[in-house]
Every structure is written in structure tokens, then in C-alpha cells.
Symmetry: none
Subunit: 185 residues, 4 copies
């Protein structure tokens, strides 16, 4: 039995890239397989369907954000400002990288009325994001206001990422993050 040619993480990263570039429906299993150096049929040894692969990508990205981005919100050893700065910095890095935008927003919009299972996973992601921001902002605002500001932050970032994608100009996200940083203190 031949060994796995590629790691699961590698596949998830490649799939993330392709889904980000081409959207869900327009990306084919062959596209993703090719990006992995595999043939179409081989994908099915890793994931039983395109939908499952997409879910795995969503879970992978979600987990990554949880560990690498949102976790900073709960690191009470750092100052409020420092925590927000860190999260903003990492958010920028994530959304300007190979993901070319925010896959959660992209897939969320594309499949909102079509694949409810995706929507639920994606809502969980945004919930975690908003919870993390709310947690930090509670240092500064009332619980209620903190939540409102958190929602505003996420909306504004997602809108800016959209603009960034449509105009092909990272400036939109960078400006939004600067505004948020200013506003947050």
C-alpha cells in the first residue's frame, strides 16, 4: 500500500486557496486535486465529498483562528490595547495571505440560501470572533455596548475585506483596521 503522498493539512491549505480564488461552486475537485499534485479520484481517499471537504476547510480555518487569533483576546496578561493590536495584526495577515479574502464571508454569502450546514459552521466562527472581541471590549465598555462594538468591528472588517477583493486593493482592509484601532481606545 503506497504511503500518503500529501498531508491532510496540505490538502486543506490547497483547498482553502482554491475555494478562496474560485468560490465554492466554481471550484472543481479536479482543481483542488491538481493543486495538491493528485488526481481527482484520489481526493476521495481523504474526504468523502466536496461538501465534506468544504466543511473540513471551514473547521480548519475556524480552529486556526481560535488558536492563533481569538485566543489572544483571553490572554489577560496583556493589556486591552495590546490584545486588540495583536488581533488586528493577525487578522490582516490572515486575510491578505493566500486566502485572498475571508473564506468564511465568501462561502457564507455564496451558500447562505443553499447549504444551511455551511451557514451554521460559519455562524459559529463569527460567534467566536465576536465573543472574543466582546470579551476584550468589556474592559472598556458595558457588556451590551461591548457586544455592539464587536459586531460593528466584524462587520466593518468583513465589508473592507470584500472591498479589498473587489478592488484588488489591500488598502481597504488596512484602513478599516486602523479606524478600529483608533476607535477602540
Amino acid at each position: 500500500m503506497p504511503k500518503a503522498k500529501v498531508s491532510e493539512t496540505f490538502i486543506l491549505n490547497q483547498a482553502l486557496k482554491i475555494f478562496s480564488q474560485k468560490s465554492y461552486y466554481n471550484a472543481t475537485m479536479a482543481d483542488i486535486a491538481q493543486a495538491c499534485g493528485l488526481l481527482k479520484g484520489s481526493m476521495y481517499h481523504y474526504y468523502p465529498s466536496k461538501e465534506d471537504l468544504m466543511k473540513a476547510v471551514i473547521a480548519y480555518v475556524h480552529e486556526y483562528f481560535n488558536k492563533e487569533v481569538f485566543a489572544h483576546a483571553y490572554n489577560t496578561k496583556l493589556s486591552t490595547r495590546e490584545r486588540l493590536r495583536k488581533m488586528g495584526e493577525l487578522t490582516e495577515k490572515m486575510f491578505i495571505g493566500p486566502q485572498e479574502g475571508c473564506i468564511m464571508g465568501n462561502i457564507g454569502i455564496e451558500t447562505a440560501r443553499v447549504i444551511p450546514e455551511f451557514s451554521e459552521l460559519i455562524r459559529n466562527f463569527f460567534d467566536d470572533w465576536m465573543n472574543a472581541l466582546t470579551f476584550v471590549l468589556k474592559d472598556k465598555y458595558s457588556e451590551k455596548t461591548a457586544r455592539e462594538v464587536a459586531e460593528q468591528c466584524v462587520s466593518e472588517i468583513e465589508g473592507a475585506v470584500m472591498m479589498m477583493r473587489i478592488y484588488n486593493e489591500p488598502r481597504y482592509l488596512q484602513d478599516a483596521l486602523k479606524r478600529i484601532a483608533k476607535r477602540a481606545y
Copy 2:
């Protein structure tokens, strides 16, 4: 000549609805035809291809916003506040109606790296929107600041519309518009 079963405007509205619900790639010509009470093949009397139909929908929505929403920005008979209020109100109506979100953002994200012709048309839409807002905001801010605030407004609205779509809660857009209204004076 037999009376047309449908008007061009009717087709554009139905196509808008279907594209909004299902996204571009997942919407089929048969879906749209059915929504129009026609057969698949009959669509091709009106538009020579799915891509052309999408472009016509984009143009239709753009024109509609120009006339019905953005135009208010230039109505100097009204006060700054009144003009912004009007635009916000109409924006809400547009994005909560049958469009179920903002088709410009949705299609823009989905096809950004795939169909550059769409992207260009969509950028033109956002340019007009931001220009209109900038024009109004110049009453209050410097030219430069006005433009920055306009970009922020559009980002925030688009982000909120995205959240609204993903969470299926109009509240996100309504909140964003309230924030913007407050901030703008």
C-alpha cells in the same frame, strides 16, 4: 407578432432574485427561466448568454440605485442630514427586499478572480456609491475626510449586509445604518 409573455424588466427582476438567492454559479438558466414562467431555451431570446444576463442584471441594479438612491445625494434642496437619512432608508429597503442582500457584493466576491468583466461593472457601482456619499459628506468634512468616511460607510454597510445574510437577521443592517446615521452629524 405574439404578445411577449414577459417583459424585460420582469426577467431582470426574476434573475436578480434567483442570482441573489443561489449565487451566480449555482443559479441555472433553467431556474431563472422557471421563475419567469418560460422554458430554458426561451431565455436566449432576451440575452445571448448567462454572462450577458448577469451583466444586464448588474446594469439594471446599478441604474436603479443611481436614480433612486444615489441621486438624493445631489439634491441640494435638502439638508445634509435629510439626504443621508433618505439614502439610508432606501438602502435598507433595497437590501432587505427581494434582493436578499447586496447582489453587487455577492457576485463581486464570488467572481472576483474569475470574471473580470463583472468586477469592473461592480467597481463602477461602488465608485458611484462612494462618490455620492463623499459629495454629501463634504458639507461636514474636508474632501479627504469625506471620502474616508464614505469608504467606511460602504464597507460597514456591505459587511453588515453580509452578516445579515449569514445570520438571517436584518438587525445587522439596521444597526449599521443607525450607527452611520449617528456618526454622520
Copy 3:
């Protein structure tokens, strides 16, 4: 009731041109209608179907050759040589003109195994052609040989017309006609 926009002969000539250029299956009723300055649907006032139109074109061309080309074979007022010369000259003119080759050969080959009705009509055309040539050549040869030479002439001309079409060089037909002229005396 509006008058006919175009004459039947005009339609037949345009159809001949389009079928010659595009072949039978690849030519559409819309192509032919357009060449006539009509719309697709209007063709059906003249001919009940594409097949009937093709048959009418075949009959039209056949009749034309009968009257204008083959008839010379039976004009015993002229010398054998003169009759053959005349036929060759007219054949060249017909096949190099707007017909762009020999529609009988073209359609005959294309539909041989598919639309037997065409084949029959086309065989009638070639029969008339070979009969005419045989009639002339009987002045010089025995009945049997005359027929053989006639068959050879027609084969060679049709083959040359084919080469002319494929190489886009009238030379092939011209050379064949010269060879035949020489051989025939």
C-alpha cells in the same frame, strides 16, 4: 396582406450560397433567412422545412444545369467539339461562382447515408449529366465507351472541384477541364 419581400428565386440563390459555404447540417435556417433579409420564422412561408428547402435548392440547380449546361449536348447544330467546349466553359463558370464548389457533390457526400431522399435527387442530376456527355461522346466512341468516358469526366471534374475547395485554388478545376478537353478529341 403585405407583399412578398423577396422572390423565390432569390431565396433559392441565397440558400444555395449558404448551404454551399456551410454545408447542410451546419447551415441554420437563421443563416439563410439573414442572407435573404428575413427573419427565421419567415422562411416557413416559403418552404415548410429545412429539408424541403434543400430539396428545392437541389431541384433549382438541377433545372438550371439542364437548361443552361446539359442542353448544349443535344444541340446537334453544333459540332461535337463545340458542344463539349461550351459545356466545359459553363461548368467552370458554375462551380467557381457563388456556389463555391458543386453543391450536388457536397450535399451528396454529406447526407449520403443519412437522407436518402437527397441522394436520389442528386443521383438524378448526375444521371442527366452523364447522359448528356454520353450523348455527345457517342459521336466519337461506341455507346459503351462513351458512357465510360462520360463517367470518367464527371468523376474527374467532381474530384477536381473537391480539390479546388480544399486547397482554395481554382486551378484544380481548370486543369481538369483542360485535360478533358484534350482527351475528348
Copy 4:
């Protein structure tokens, strides 16, 4: 990997047969697939499009003639007469077999004004044929005359094959080949 249900050569032969019977535009991928015992979609594992399949068939036939028919022209161990006899015999066999005529001539005529890429490939075939005949005939004629006679031979054979197809009588080709054999010495 599962054993292929069909070999590439088998597909080419079946496609040759179907294209020969039905012509290019009237033959469907489903027809060819069925002749191969495959489903329509499976054809696309072998050839990316109908046009590409047609090109492959043309190349296949060309190569076959090069190796099996034209090559005899250059076998100087045989006499002129013997070489011509061999070529004639094989030509007859090829054109009366499953090909049901000469696909090069058939497709050449049908697509001459529509798919220039085919025309070029087909011209290459006829060039090779005429070159081979010219090479043999140089034993007997001047270079110039040899080429003329070669062109005549090819025209006559193609015309006879056309007649054979239209009349459904192999006699036309057989007669032409006899005439050519006689004339060539």
C-alpha cells in the same frame, strides 16, 4: 487502475466509421460513444472536444496511409508498375472498407469554409499523397508532368469515391483505378 474498456485505436476506428457515415456535424458524440460501448461523457477522457477527436481521426488516417499506402511509392526495390499496382490495390481496400469513402475528402468538403484547422491537416494528407505519386511517376515522366499526372490521379480517385458514395456502387472507384493503372504505363 481499472482496465480500460476500450483502446484509443478502437475509439479512433469507431469515430472514423461514424464520422464517415454521418459526416462531421451530423455525427454526435453520443453516436460515437455508443459505437464504442461508452457513454457520451466518457469520450472526454480521451479527447477534450469533438474537434480534437476529429483531428485525431484525421491524424490517425493520415499516418495509416503514410505507413501502409504511400510508403510503397518509395520502395525502390519494386518496379514502377508494381509500386503503382500496390498503391492502387490498397487505396481500393481503404476506401471501400469501413471508412465508406474517403474521410479526408468528405470532411474536407464539409468543413472547408468553417474549420480551417481541419483543412490544413487535410491538405497535408493530399500533399503527401500527391508527393508519393509524383515520386513514382518521375520514373516515367518529367518532374512537371509527373506532378500533373499525380494531381489528376488523386482528383479522379476522389471524384470516383464521391460517385461511389452517392450511387452506393463500388464500381466507380474500381473503374477509376483501372483507368489509372492503364494510363500509367
